[in-house]
Symmetry: C2
Subunit: 178 residues, 2 copies
DNA sequence: CCGCGACCTGTCAACCTGGACATGTCCACG
DNA sequence: CGTGGACATGTCCAGGTTGACAGGTCGCGG
């Protein structure tokens, strides 16, 4: 039941409506960590409110309901963050493809790896300037801006995959030169 | 429906029974890429056989049924591997935690990051010798052993996360020295 | 002042998933 | 020869998840 904890974590930044949270899942967190659509977010917020983890902070126009963490919610988030189970849930289609690269014919595998390397290079070219800008605007005496650590994670992830794809190509090239 | 493609990919290595495939998911693929228990694997194999993607290759003792890929199955696997959708399914509890590190108090965050760094270092210490041994035993003129690319992926993944955790600690340390 | 696009909340049915339950066989070792 | 542990296959159900359906509001540009 990690959706609940994702929502708690997002609300730890500050109060937000179901709509805001839905859009947050369109961004980095939904791309790399956990996906959720509004149809699950609204009911879950309701259940969390029932459980006392969040409260409706304020209501706005168009029936907007802003939710805020309660102390109980913050405690639960902390408990979950610090308590790591032995085995965590993973389901990543991209990584699955990487595991199965070797089930392809060498030519197909090479083409696939080349595509991966290109894709990573393109993402890095997009992400690096954004992070550099965040760093440039940020006063080092202030706390690290929310999301900067996650951004760095994405950056390093792409770098790792990029390096891996190039390494794999080299390694396969030795087998079937051409 | 990636379970189907995970099974196709595993069967591309050679025929296997539901039991064999279940154990494969206990290993690297289940840890990093996609999880599945036998309760989903057996019915899925049945459906795949119905769809003509696999056939029962041979039967063994204890009702063992060994499945093998058909040409149709191999084609479907290739189609899936080479066709990347815009957005792929991701659901990774560990990455979620990394995204939410900054929702913790700085002290908790530091402790968590230290734990992550240690864990990665420990996994690397386990994985590196295994990969080195694979390389030592492997004739470079032969094709890359199945799983070697995936192992390298895991290695680089841990290296990346390790580096990220250290970077994050440094970055947070600048904020609250201690 | 009108309409369109973004905002905002919700439900429902179909499907997927994980863990418990169920059943039985082979084989190596004592 | 008996027994424990690995081998092997399956079902079932509660709960999670997705995508479609549904309904309504605000605010701005024409």
């Amino acid at each position: 039941m990690s959706l609940r904890h994702a929502l708690l974590g997002l609300l730890a930044q500050g109060p937000a409506s179901g709509y805001d949270l839905t859009r947050a899942f369109d961004g980095g967190i939904g791309q790399y960590a956990w996906q959720a659509g509004h149809s699950r977010i609204y009911p879950e917020l309701g259940k969390m409110a029932e459980a006392g983890l969040v409260v409706v902070d304020e209501t706005g126009p168009r029936g907007r309901k802003s939710y805020a963490l309660t102390d109980e919610g913050r405690t639960e988030l902390r408990r979950w963050m610090l308590h790591w189970p032995e085995r965590t849930a993973v389901r990543d289609e991209t990584v699955l493809r990487m595991f199965l690269v070797q089930s392809l014919e060498p030519d197909d595998a090479r083409r696939l790896l080349e595509g991966i390397a290109e894709h990573c290079a393109a993402e890095l070219a997009k992400l690096r300037p954004v992070m550099d800008e965040v760093d440039a605007e940020h006063d080092p005496r202030e706390p690290v801006p929310f999301g900067r650590l996650a951004g760095e994670y994405g950056l390093r992830q792409y770098e790792a995959v990029h390096g891996w794809a190039l390494w794999s190509l080299e390694r396969m090239g030795a087998t079937v030169p051409g």
